[in-house]
Amino acid sequence: MFAARARSHTLPFSLAILAALALLGLLPVEPGMRYIIVLSMSWGIAAVGLDLFSGYLGLANFGQFAFVGIGAYSITVLRSDAHLDVVLALLVTVALVAVVAAIVGSAMVQLQHFGAALTTFFFAFVLFNVLGGNTFDPITRSAEGLPVPPLSWGPLDLSATGQWLYWLAWAMLLATVLLTSNYANSRAGRALRLIKRSETVAGTLGVRVRLTKLTAFVFSAVVAAAAGLPLSLAIGYLAPETFHFGNSITLFAMLVVGGIGSIAGPLIGSLIFTALPQLMQSTGAAEALLFAVIFLVFVIALPDGIFGLLERGWRGARGGRPPLPEPPLYSGRLGRLRRVASRLNATPAISGRPTHTPGEALAYGNPLPSVLVEDVLVAEDVTVVFGGVRALEGVTFRVRTGTIHALVGPNGAGKTTFLNCVSGLLRATEGRIAVAGHDVSRSRAHLIREWGVSRTFQNPSLVADLSVLDNVMLGLYGSHRWSLARDLAGAWASRSRQRAVSGLAVSALEQVGLPASRWDAPASDLSLGEQKAVDIARAIAGGSRLLLLDEPTSGLGDQEMGRVADLLKRLRAEHRLSILLVAHNVGFVQDTSDTVTVLDFGRVIAEGEPDRVIADPDVMTAYLGVAEAGAGVGAR
């Protein structure tokens, strides 16, 4: 739905802007200008928080400023009526907003596409009316307005005319940028970007999609509420008009013009949109038109915003793309990690409980000896009905552990539907599916992932703006217990996990044979063959006992197909990984598979060893419509 690129590691840019703002704060700027910059820093806090949700998760949120309003009013009322200390008022407000956002958000994340966008906009409209209405009149003073008591914190005068409000706003902005940057560049942030790419794929990798979206929503709401503090102190007076629902759109415009999905971009956007009008001093109507035009031009022609322009300019100044390092160079910031990882071929010590019970072996990714089940996958009488269509009808077969089993059939036979059932994306209408002896017929995708089922897709669905390595690391999303709080604490706090995870990702990439020179490339640069290889690496990196491959060879040439075949055979031989693959290419199937099941119109029509099955007359009829022995069948 949303194809704009998000950016990793833009912290240097953001810090540079903050440094400039700090410098500005030290200069003797006139109070009017100072006030404007405090306002724009407050907007900046809200904008950066919104960027996480709309830029990295890619969902529209047109109600962010409503949370600023709730924050501003709540803090002010708690300070003036309940006589709370400002820090306490802020904490109580944060808790309150988190609850409100959780309620609104839990409804919102279940909605599709623009239903969610409208809900947030309506929420902003509702809040605007509530602020000006009767229900909360005693608290908010409604249209009469609420004066904000001036604040001093110890010796620091934080009132609107004091020197220190600037630094309060600046410090809060810095904190917001750091937290958001940590979030965006961590495991949690990668999960957001994967959800943006494909919610379904994210589900199969163990991401709890709705919970993740909700968490991101609550984060951006809480950040917005915090922005209410410097905003209310600066203006000194709260009226409903200040939190008009149109402001949420203005906030969004700041994101787009600054550069959505870059954290630094919204900073730039908020400074420009708030500060520039003061510098222009033109009549408001022309200025409003100018901003609308700027907004429109940027959305159409410069969707990457000002940040994108700066980035392009910098790259142009450096003379084009830097040459990729030669293999087997371990260059760049990952160099040391890679060297370390490839020396530790065994699983490095990882903190946190692994999610798999010891004694149950994972075929790939866990070197512990195992007690294996004879049939890694058992499907009994699986039937799937969509509306009037019976996509699968009484499908029964088994996949023996440590073998490669092919599922073939003409287009529309139900092969991908079956894979969807096994991986938990679809619930069978009737029948039973068991993985390693456990009934997973009613289980959700992320639980099935924990049982060791991983899959690839016809469309690899890699996150285009993440590097290959980052994409593969997503495969390790569910492999350790981790929390958002640790992600927010920053890269240094997560370094042990980071090391372990990237080590495992590196081994997976080495396993699939992708050269090290490609590991830092953004996934959008990859050829289809490379993307499919990365998809497989992502699927096995976190450990797997049953790998579901959906058309691993479609679109590939002979040579690449051969490489995939070798890889699969290696995985089977060296790691006892069981593989269920859906393929069209007969030669490939003959080369790799131990057993084959043939589906036609949702029914199993043949099963057994490849050579025998291919010669089966029923199979030939299904594929070719003609029962001719040997006709048209042969390796490509």
Partner: protein, 401 residues
């Protein structure tokens, strides 16, 4: 990481330079050059106006500004006040608090001698405390909310609550006793206005049926009209923004729900904006007070001539005359304050005014230490075929009077 920094740093530095350079507002040097007070030099008096130049109320707000500017131009053409020309710095606040506050901060820093005019509740409420604290006189904004404890804030237009009392009393006196229903917009002082209105109705021998409160964002006034309609009131008091008043009244006509006697309102209804926006059946039954005379009234002749000469092309409406009248009052006060012009001196001068009749288009102005609302009378307005007619005045007392 070093390489990534130089371009964003350059960009940030450029931004910083722009901000620092653009940060100096025109005339921000604080040297006063032979001044007696901030904003006053030997030959100028600097005044600041924060006005809704853009936004929904901008039509009315720009008329008040134009009317005032015509007066200042005329005065300056004649040599100014005590040899000083009046210069007005007008900044747009788009009827929002943050912008109004920003403008006022600029004014305090510029500095201006006083802040004059402006339109509407929201900006006024947000800047009054700041001006009071900075001891800068805030003079004659177009709004009717009270500032009881502020020494430096002076209003001309009577408070909304007092207007409510007066219009009900006078209507009942003129058109007979009856039932009253009110539609009130949520602005400051609403609760007090409703209470006072109810009391006034009962005191005058009428019956108070009830009221509805509306806030912004109403799409369709029909439900409110339906609620009012079932009580069949004699008088309907409509007291909200001019646009919403017009919408409500239009819906009244569409539903055939005009009151038996009269539509009552506050000064927002005694405007051409309202009259032109509602069907003629409604404007015919209007009765509302206005702070200044109608353009057709001979008391307005002086202002009309001034505006025609010094701001040709400006529409002459109630708002224009308000701007003219309040500007004339300011000029009068500045003259009276004398050569040695200080802010406190101006305050004292204003507070000494008793029944000053120097501004024909306004009613007589009185201020005192305890009363900072200038007018004690307002003109009575009715309408006939899309024209405002001002006939006589009605007294507006303090609350409850």
């Amino acid at each position: 990481m070093k390489r990534t920094l130089w371009l964003p740093l350059t960009a940030a530095a450029t931004l910083l330079l722009a901000a620092a350079c653009g940060g100096s507002a025109p005339g921000s040097s604080s040297s006063n050059g032979g001044a007696t007070a901030p904003g006053v030099t030997t030959d100028t008096i600097q005044v600041g106006t924060t006005n809704a130049e853009t936004g929904i109320v901008s039509a009315s707000a720009s008329l008040t500004k134009a009317g005032a500017q015509a007066v200042f131009d005329k005065v300056n053409a004649g040599g100014g006040v005590n040899g000083r020309k009046i210069k007005v710095n007008v900044l747009d606040d788009a009827y929002t608090a943050p912008k109004a506050v920003a403008n006022v901060r600029t004014f305090i820093n510029q500095p201006v001698f006083a802040v004059f005019g402006g339109y509407g509740t929201v900006p006024a409420q947000s800047i009054a405390p700041i001006l009071e604290q900075a001891k800068v006189p805030y003079l004659f904004p177009y709004q009717g909310n009270p500032y009881p404890n502020d020494r430096y804030v002076f209003l001309v237009m009577p408070l909304y609550r007092n207007q409510t009392v007066a219009v009900i009393k006078n209507a009942i006196q003129k058109y007979g006793k009856g039932t009253v229903y009110a539609l009130v917009g949520k602005t400051a002082d609403t609760a007090q206005a409703i209470q006072d209105g109810k009391q006034a109705t009962m005191d005058a021998g009428g019956t108070w049926l009830g009221y509805d409160e509306v806030s912004q964002g109403t799409t369709d006034y029909t439900p409110y009209v339906l609620r009012m309609k079932q009580s069949h009131p004699d008088y309907v008091l409509v007291s909200t923004t001019p646009t919403d008043c017009a919408r409500y009244v239009t819906a009244m006509v569409a539903q055939g729900a005009l009151p038996a006697k009269r539509i009552l309102g506050l000064q927002t209804l005694a405007t051409e904006t309202f009259i032109n926006a509602v069907p003629v059946e409604a404007s015919r039954v209007l009765f509302a007070p206005g702070p200044n005379a109608a353009p057709s009234n001979k008391l307005a002749a002086d202002c009309v001539a001034t505006v025609r000469k010094y701001a040709p092309g400006t529409q002459i409406t109630m708002e224009t005359l308000w701007g003219c009248g309040t500007a004339q009052l300011l000029v009068y006060a500045l003259r009276k304050a004398g050569d040695n012009l200080t802010r406190d001196g101006l305050v004292k001068t204003l507070e000494a005014m008793r029944q000053v009749d120097a501004v024909p288009v306004l009613t007589p102005i009185s201020f005192s230490r305890s009363n900072h609302v200038g007018e004690a009378k307002m003109y009575q307005f009715t309408s006939d075929n899309k024209q405002l007619i001002s006939g006589g005045t009605m007294p507006i007392g303090a609350a409850g009077a």
